[in-house]
């Protein structure tokens, strides 16, 4: 793959962001480059990349972009959860073929910003983020599951 200097999305391409900190305003590097260079603070994960390679560097990363070249390729959901489970607290941005009907699941897997290739309808997106008032599974968010609620003291 050709590596562009300005790989990655810029803050003004981000349509939805659930964080208060300042967004990183420079480009991302590939996972390979991130492992080789000690000063990178923003990285981009492609579907075939192993997110676990980033675990030694999490404390210096402020932005991880996860690319979805096609919305039907679900590897990025696992990548997101793996990073959150390892304690990554920086921005986790879903980029690429990000559509309305995947937003709620992406949010649950730990994504907190979204830069879709094509801007999404704001009303449809708001509805999509709120689709599931209840959830069955534990995931990367802090939502209490249905089973937790059933058995709370």
């Amino acid at each position: 793959m050709v590596e562009f200097r300005d790989l990655g999305t810029s803050p003004d391409e981000v349509q939805f962001r659930f964080r208060d900190d300042e967004p990183v305003d420079h480009g991302t590097v590939t996972v390979d480059s991130c492992c080789d260079q000690t000063n990178a603070t923003a990285v981009r994960i492609e579907p075939g990349d192993d997110a676990r390679l980033l675990l030694p560097f999490l404390d210096r990363l402020a932005l991880v972009e996860v690319n979805f070249p096609s919305f039907t390729d679900g590897r990025g959901y696992s990548a997101a959860r793996i990073l959150r489970e390892a304690g990554y607290t920086g921005e986790l941005r879903a980029v690429g073929d990000v559509l309305i009907d995947q937003l709620s699941h992406m949010r649950r897997c730990g994504f907190d910003s979204f830069a879709p290739d094509r801007r999404l309808d704001e009303d449809d997106a708001a509805r999509a983020f709120a689709t599931w008032e209840q959830v069955y599974q534990r995931a990367a968010d802090t939502r209490r599951t249905i089973a937790d609620k059933r058995h709370e003291a």
Binding site: G74, R75, E85, E133, A139, I146
Partner: protein, 543 residues
């Protein structure tokens, strides 16, 4: 039987609204067909040759009478008055309009049903032993574990865009009545020497164009880690299952290419990690679910019958199955009348069956993977009344596990993937054997027919399997022998060159001739085949 609480109901209601909104955006054009397709599939909606098909989930094959009546109503209101029960213990309707789909889902939600994840590259409906809760040989009822898995797998945020579809099966006995090892994940609930409950995990089985028998990857997962282990197994698959080739994307290919040992190592590593993360539901949840499956209050009663009517006696012998309580049996309702379409039931028949379940089987019914229905708990004393009602409705064919009890996919009559018709072949074979009286002589013989290589008709697992292929524009049928989906699981082997429709019917007869001539006392067709091998059959077919 499991009952929804406010949360389960909220989930299916939310799903109906979500789908309604998706259908609206599709019709307004903001969703392309390519974007809509995976979404409608995850709501069970396929586009077939002539119309949309809607597949409704019947989790672990369990239904009550009210639900079956609702399915009958849907058949009349939105379809052509019948439904088709499938090998995944589901029901599908073949003549659905897209604009009705959301309303049908809403009707289903009113009776605690849905079409969630009955298609698509996600975790599908969880199947289970159809005799669960009734079988005398089960360690425990497997359905609470299946329900726990159902909830975990419904709208799973990480596993909704898997490389390919994913099927679980749960059983809890040594005998396998659910083709467990031919699933992506087959789970057998077991007890260890200390009396603790756990789960054996078999991963990477399946039929399709590359049939594989799942290897055992973990002999005992403590039951309070069941979900965590499943999550680990799925995560490894989601990350590393092949996505470059649709035909190599099932988990069986991953397990095969990595080797079971390496796949297992990766799962164990992920499992250890996920245990530290804590994804298991609170352990009280399993107990809450299990309370819904407490055995009904069985009462003692007569254990013998007046067998003076030979038709009734034959039906009892063929279609009833031993129950854990000796005054009860499980009664199979055959959806395989000679010359009929395997698995089809009319709305009227569904209502008759629903009433029988209400009156005689603690309001419980099962859909069997063999495309029949089952009254799981009936008093032996009630069998004459049940049989009479079934007979009057055309539902008393005494042919469970015989050559008339054919599994067949919808084939070229409905399916856009098919190369050949399956249904007419099943109709002609069952009719011929019923007419000649040979069905009874042959005894247990599982015949399974698929109309294409995708193997929805389980032909790889048939004692006799038939695969329809397209040969230079004409339908051609390959015959295979020696498959089994049971605890003695094996994959059938092709006999040789294929046949045309008449030819394959004649070939099936020839094969049964060889069996009848060679069988030793008490041998089923499969036993004889395994003893004498393929050669005598080949000789008769091609010699």
């Amino acid at each position: 039987m499991y009952k929804y609480d406010q949360y389960d109901q909220a989930m299916v209601d939310a799903r109906v609204e979500e789908f309604r909104d998706q259908a609206r955006r599709r019709m307004e054009g903001s969703l392309s067909e390519d974007q809509f397709k995976p979404l409608r599939l995850m709501n069970g909606l396929y586009l077939q040759l002539h119309a949309y098909m809607l597949r409704v989930a019947v989790p672990y094959g369990t239904l009550n009478s009210r639900q079956l009546e609702a399915l009958a109503d849907i058949a009349e209101k939105y379809d052509r008055g019948y439904g088709h029960f499938t090998t995944r213990q589901n029901i599908q309707y073949n003549w659905i309009k897209l604009e009705d789909a959301a309303d049908i889902l809403a009707d289903l939600a009113k009776v605690e049903m849905h079409a969630i994840q009955t298609s698509g590259n996600c975790i599908r409906n969880i199947s289970a032993d159809h005799f669960a809760g009734a079988a005398s040989d089960e360690v425990t009822d497997p359905r609470p574990y299946a329900e726990l898995l159902r909830q975990w797998s419904s709208f799973h945020p990480e596993f909704t865009y898997l490389p390919r579809k994913f099927k679980f099966c749960v059983i809890a006995s040594e005998k396998d009545r659910a083709a467990m090892r031919l699933h992506d994940i087959g789970i057998r609930i077991v007890q260890n020497a200390a009396g603790e409950t756990g789960a054996q995990f078999y991963v990477g089985g399946g039929m399709g164009r590359t049939p594989m028998i799942a290897p055992l990857i973990r002999d005992f997962v403590p039951i309070d880690q069941l979900i965590t282990y499943a999550e680990a197994a799925l995560r490894v698959y989601n990350r590393y299952g092949r996505r470059d080739n649709k035909f190599k994307a099932r988990i069986k290919i991953l397990v095969h290419e990595l080797g079971a040992a390496e796949y297992t190592r990766q799962v164990e590593e992920e499992f250890a990690h996920l245990l530290s993360v804590g994804v298991e539901p609170p352990h009280e949840e399993l107990a809450r679910i299990a309370a819904h499956f407490v055995a009904p209050a069985f009462v003692d009663g007569p254990k013998t019958l007046d067998r003076s009517d030979p038709d009734f006696a034959l039906w009892v012998d063929r279609n009833t199955h031993r129950h854990k309580h000796d005054a009860y049996v499980s009664a199979v309702i055959s959806l395989k009348p000679a010359g009929g379409i395997p698995g089809d039931a009319t709305a009227q028949q569904m209502r008759v069956i629903a009433k029988l379940a209400r009156n005689y089987s603690f309001d419980e019914l099962r859909v069997m993977h063999t495309q029949n229905l089952l009254l799981p708990h009936v008093r032996i004393a009630d069998l004459p009344a049940i049989w009479a009602a079934l007979d009057a409705a055309g539902l008393a064919a005494p042919n469970m596990d015989t050559i008339e009890d054919i599994i067949a996919c919808p084939g070229l009559d409905y399916c856009s993937l098919a190369n050949a018709r399956s249904i007419p072949l099943a109709q002609r074979i069952s009719e011929r054997f019923a007419k000649s009286g040979r069905t009874e002589v042959v005894g247990e013989l599982k015949l399974k027919i698929s109309g294409c290589i995708n193997a929805c008709g389980h032909h790889h697992a048939g004692h006799i399997g038939i695969l329809g292929v397209d040969r230079k524009g004409t339908e051609n049928y390959q015959l295979s022998l020696g498959g089994s989906e049971a605890e003695d699981v094996s994959l059938a082997k092709i006999t040789g060159p294929g046949f045309d429709e008449d030819g394959v019917i004649a070939a099936v007869e020839k094969v049964t001739d060889i069996y009848l001539a060679a069988r030793a006392d008490g041998e089923r067709f499969l036993d004889t085949y395994r003893r004498i091998g393929m050669e005598p059959f080949k000789e008769a077919l091609y010699g």
